[in-house]
C-alpha cells in the first residue's frame, strides 16, 4: 500500500498544514508517513506544493523529495489548473483521484483525462459557513484523509487538533475548524487508489562549455515581472469607485506591486497583476475602494 498525495495551492492557503493534517492522521492510524512542503519564494499568494507519503512498509522503503507520480492530488485553488508552470495534474496516475476546491463545474478536466476521478467541493463557501472566514487547510486535509480510504475520522480529528494547536489556533476557532473538517470528511467518498508506477525519466545529456554571457547568472530582461500574470492569485478583487475618489493617489503609493497607476481619469488597477492584497482598500482615506470575492465578479 502506497499513497502519494500532492497538494497544490498558494502561499497563505494552508497547504502545508493540510499535508500535515493528512500526515499526522495517517501516523496516528499506524502507518509510516512523511510530509513536507516546498516553499519556493516565500510569499503570500505564490504557488506552493506539499507532499504526504503514506505506506505500511517500514520507513526505510521511502525515498525523499518531490512526488512525480501521485495517486491523489488536492488542489486548493482552481486558478492553478491553467498555470503552465504549476501544472498541477502532472504525473497523476491512471485511476487516481483529484480533488479541486472550486465553485465552478470543471467538466473539461475529465474530458481530457477520462482515466481519473474528479471530486470537487466549494471549500471557501463551507469554511465561511462553518468557521466564519476563508480557511482551507482543515477542510483540505480532512478531505485528503477521507479520499485515502484508510483513515478514520477519529484520527483526522486528532490530527486537526494537534496541527492547529501547533500553529497557535485554539478555543472556539479550533472547535469550528473541527466541525468544518467533519463536514468535509462526510461530503466525499474514497475509491481505491492505484499503486504509483515508477516514473521513467529522459536520458542523461552531456553539458559542454558555452561562451558567456549566457552562462553567467543574470537577468537582462528588464521589466519581466509583468510577464508573470499574478492576477489569478486574488481571492478578493479591489474595485475603485471613481465618483467617490478624490485623486489623492495614496492607493498608487501604497500598492506594493505597483499595479495601481494614475491616469487622466483617476487611479486604475491593472488586474492582470493585482494579487488582491487589499492594501489599497485599507489605505483609501475616502473609502472609494471596495472589494468583491473574485468568483462573484465574473
Amino acid at each position: 500500500m502506497l499513497i502519494y498525495a500532492r497538494f497544490h495551492g498558494r502561499g497563505g492557503q494552508g497547504i502545508k498544514t493540510a499535508s500535515r493534517i493528512l500526515g499526522n492522521a495517517a501516523h496516528l492510524e499506524g502507518y509510516f508517513t512523511q510530509d513536507f512542503p516546498v516553499y519556493g519564494a516565500e510569499r503570500r499568494g505564490a504557488p506552493i506544493v506539499a507532499f504526504t507519503k503514506i505506506t505500511d512498509e517500514p520507513s526505510t522503503m521511502f525515498d525523499r523529495g518531490y512526488i512525480l507520480n501521485p495517486n491523489l492530488i488536492l488542489i486548493a485553488d482552481d486558478s492553478l489548473l491553467d498555470d503552465p508552470i504549476v501544472n498541477p495534474l502532472a504525473g497523476l496516475q491512471s485511476n487516481g483521484t483529484v480533488f479541486i476546491n472550486t465553485s465552478k463545474s470543471i467538466d473539461r478536466l475529465t474530458r481530457d483525462r477520462c482515466d481519473i476521478r474528479l471530486v470537487t467541493e466549494d471549500l471557501i463557501d463551507l469554511s465561511l459557513k462553518y468557521v466564519g472566514r476563508t480557511i482551507l487547510s482543515t477542510g483540505l486535509g480532512s478531505i485528503a484523509a477521507k479520499l485515502t480510504g484508510i483513515i478514520r475520522w477519529s484520527s483526522v480529528e486528532e490530527g486537526v487538533k494537534e496541527e492547529l494547536l501547533e500553529i497557535g489556533i485554539k478555543g472556539e476557532i479550533l472547535e469550528k475548524n473541527i466541525i468544518f473538517a467533519k463536514v468535509c470528511f462526510e461530503r466525499v467518498y474514497p475509491s481505491p487508489l492505484p499503486i504509483p508506477k515508477i516514473v521513467k525519466s529522459s536520458k542523461i545529456v552531456t553539458i559542454s562549455w558555452l561562451p558567456p554571457p549566457i552562462t553567467i547568472p543574470e537577468v537582462r530582461n528588464i521589466g519581466n515581472t509583468e510577464i508573470r500574470k499574478t492576477g489569478n492569485w486574488r481571492i478578493f478583487k479591489p474595485i475603485i469607485n471613481l465618483e467617490k475618489c478624490n485623486r489623492c493617489g495614496l492607493c498608487v503609493v501604497y500598492c506594493p506591486e505597483g499595479v495601481v497607476v494614475m491616469n487622466s481619469e483617476g487611479p486604475e488597477i491593472k488586474y492582470d497583476n493585482c494579487k488582491g492584497c487589499l492594501i489599497c482598500f485599507n489605505e483609501c482615506p475616502v473609502k472609494a475602494i471596495g472589494y468583491l470575492r473574485e468568483v462573484e465578479t465574473s
Binding site: 499526522n24 492510524e29 513536507f36 536520458k203
Partner: protein, 425 residues
C-alpha cells in the same frame, strides 16, 4: 460501506502499530532543537537563516514558555555567533548553535578558531547551496567547505539520525581523547522541512548516555589564562596542528565506542559508515545525506531486477574513517561516487577522498567513477542511478571513465527556456 471495507483490508499489521505509536511526526529542524534540549545545553548564540530558522524558533519558544532552561542570545552575525559559542564553551558551558550556507561561510574564520581552542561545541548546519547564483535548495558545498577546519563532521540522512547524531556528537566532542567541536549536517528541505516519525527519548535516558560536560581548565575572570594565543615559533604551530589531527583520528574509535553505548541506551545501531545491500554486491555507489534515501530505494529496485549493486552511505566525513571505507569497497568491480557538491576545477570533493583511500589497496575496484549529482537540490531519479550503474558495468570491462554530471534531457530543455526568459528572447 466501501470505506469500512477499505479500512479493514488495509489496516497495518499489529507489530507495525506498536513500533510506531511511540514516535512523533517531526521535521529535521524541530528534531535538532529536541536534541539540544535533551543534551541540556546551557547556551545558544544564534542568528537566523533559511532553512535553519525553525531550530532557533523552537528553542526560543521552549525557553520563553519555561519548558527548557538555557540562555539564548540573538547576535549580529554568524561570525559573532560562533565567537560567542566557542568562548562560552571554554568557560565550561555546553553550547549549541545552528546555521546554514551563507551563514556558515560568513562565520568561517571562527570555525578554525573554535577547533584550535579545542572548544567542544556542537554546530548544526542545514545544507543549502551557496550563492551565486542564489538557491534555497540543498547541496554539500557549504558543509564540505569546513572539512579542513578541525571540526568533527557528521552527516544525517533522516530526522531520527539528526537527533541521534547530535547526542553522539556531544559525547565524542567532549571526550578528552578528542576535544574538538562537531558539525552535524542535515540537508535543507529534504531533511530540515520533512516530517517523519521520530522517537524522542526521555531525558533520564539521555543523561545515562551523555555525561555532564566538564571543562578541565575553565576560563574564569578570577583565574585568568590566555586562550588561542599567538604562536610565533613555526615548529610549535606544526605541533599544535598535528595534535588536532591526531585527536580527530581518535574520534573514529571514540565514535564507535559511543555508538555501542548508544545502542545499549536507545536500541539503535550506528557506525561511522552505513552499508545498504553492499556486502555481497559486485558494484557500489557512494552517497551521503538525504539523497542516500533515494539511492537506497534505487538499489532495492535494481536488486529486484537482478543488478548486483549496493550502497555505501558516508556518515562520518572528518575524521575520514579510511579503514572502514576501504573494507566496505575492496573487492568491488567498480564504484561510483555521487558527489552532491562541486569543486570547480576538480569535480566532486568526496571522489578524491574515496580514491585516495582505495589507491593503496591490493584488492581495489577496477574503476572509480566520478559523478556529480544533486547539486543545487536537483532531484536524482531511479533512471539516473540506473544509468550510473550501467556505466559501472561498462567500465568494469575496460575503458577510462569520464566524469559525469547527472542532468537529464528534459531538465536541459527547461534550463534553455529559462535562459531565454532571462535575456528577453
Amino acid at each position: 460501506m466501501m470505506r469500512s471495507k477499505l479500512i479493514a483490508e488495509l489496516r497495518p499489521r499489529r507489530e507495525v502499530v506498536s513500533t510506531i505509536t511511540k514516535s512523533k511526526m517531526l521535521t529535521g529542524n524541530v528534531t535538532a532543537a529536541w536534541a539540544a534540549r535533551l543534551a541540556e545545553v546551557d547556551y545558544i548564540p544564534a542568528f537566523p537563516i533559511t532553512p535553519q530558522t525553525e531550530i532557533i524558533e523552537k528553542l526560543s519558544e521552549w525557553i520563553a514558555l519555561g519548558e527548557f532552561k538555557a540562555k539564548l542570545t540573538i547576535v549580529d552575525s554568524e561570525h559573532s555567533m560562533l565567537a560567542a559559542a566557542g568562548t562560552a564553551s571554554l568557560t565550561g558551558a555546553r553550547v549549541f548553535t545552528a546555521t546554514s550556507s551563507q551563514g556558515l561561510l560568513y562565520g568561517f574564520e571562527m570555525l578554525y578558531n573554535i577547533a584550535g581552542w579545542r572548544a567542544p561545541i556542537v554546530l548544526v548546519n542545514v545544507s543549502r547551496a551557496v550563492a551565486a547564483p542564489i538557491s534555497l535548495e540543498p547541496d554539500h558545498n557549504d558543509f564540505l567547505s569546513t572539512r579542513d577546519s578541525g571540526f568533527i563532521l557528521l552527516q544525517a540522512e533522516t530526522c531520527q539520525e539528526v537527533l541521534d547524531l547530535i547526542l553522539l556528537a556531544y559525547r565524542v566532542s567532549e571526550d578528552n581523547r578528542v576535544l574538538l567541536p562537531s558539525l552535524v549536517n542535515m540537508d535543507g528541505f529534504h531533511t530540515s522541512f520533512t516530517r517523519e516519525p521520530v522517537k524522542i527519548p526521555e531525558i533520564e535516558e539521555v543523561r545515562r548516555f551523555l555525561p555532564k560536560y566538564t571543562q578541565q581548565l575553565p576560563f574564569r575572570a578570577s583565574k585568568p589564562s590566555a586562550k588561542g594565543v599567538a604562536v610565533l615559533r613555526p615548529p610549535l604551530y606544526s605541533f599544535y596542528k598535528y595534535q588536532m589531527h591526531l585527536s580527530s583520528i581518535n574520534a573514529i574509535n571514540v565514535f564507535k565506542e559511543a555508538c555501542e553505548k548508544f545502542e545499549e541506551c536507545f536500541a539503535r545501531r550506528y557506525d561511522v559508515i552505513e552499508k545498504y545491500m553492499l556486502d555481497d554486491s559486485k558494484y557500489a555507489i557512494v552517497m551521503m545525506g538525504s539523497y542516500a534515501s533515494i539511492g537506497k530505494k534505487a538499489v532495492r529496485i535494481l536488486r529486484e531486477e537482478g543488478v548486483s549493486v549496493g550502497l555505501l552511505k558516508l556518515r562520518m566525513i572528518r575524521p575520514l574513517p579510511s579503514k572502514d571505507i576501504r573494507k566496505a569497497l575492496e573487492g568491488k568491480k567498480a564504484v561510483a561516487v555521487i558527489d552532491q557538491n562541486i569543486s570547480p576545477g576538480l569535480g566532486g570533493i568526496l571522489y578524491s577522498d574515496i580514491s585516495s583511500i582505495l589507491y593503496n589497496s591490493d584488492n581495489k575496484p577496477k574503476v572509480i567513477l566520478p559523478v556529480i549529482g544533486g547539486v543545487g537540490g536537483k532531484t536524482i531519479t531511479l533512471d539516473e542511478i540506473r544509468y550510473v550503474v550501467e556505466l559501472l558495468e561498462k567500465y568494469a570491462n575496460g575503458g577510462e571513465p569520464e566524469p559525469i554530471l547527472l542532468l537529464r534531457e528534459d531538465e536541459l530543455r527547461e534550463v534553455e527556456s529559462l535562459l531565454r526568459i532571462g535575456v528577453g528572447e
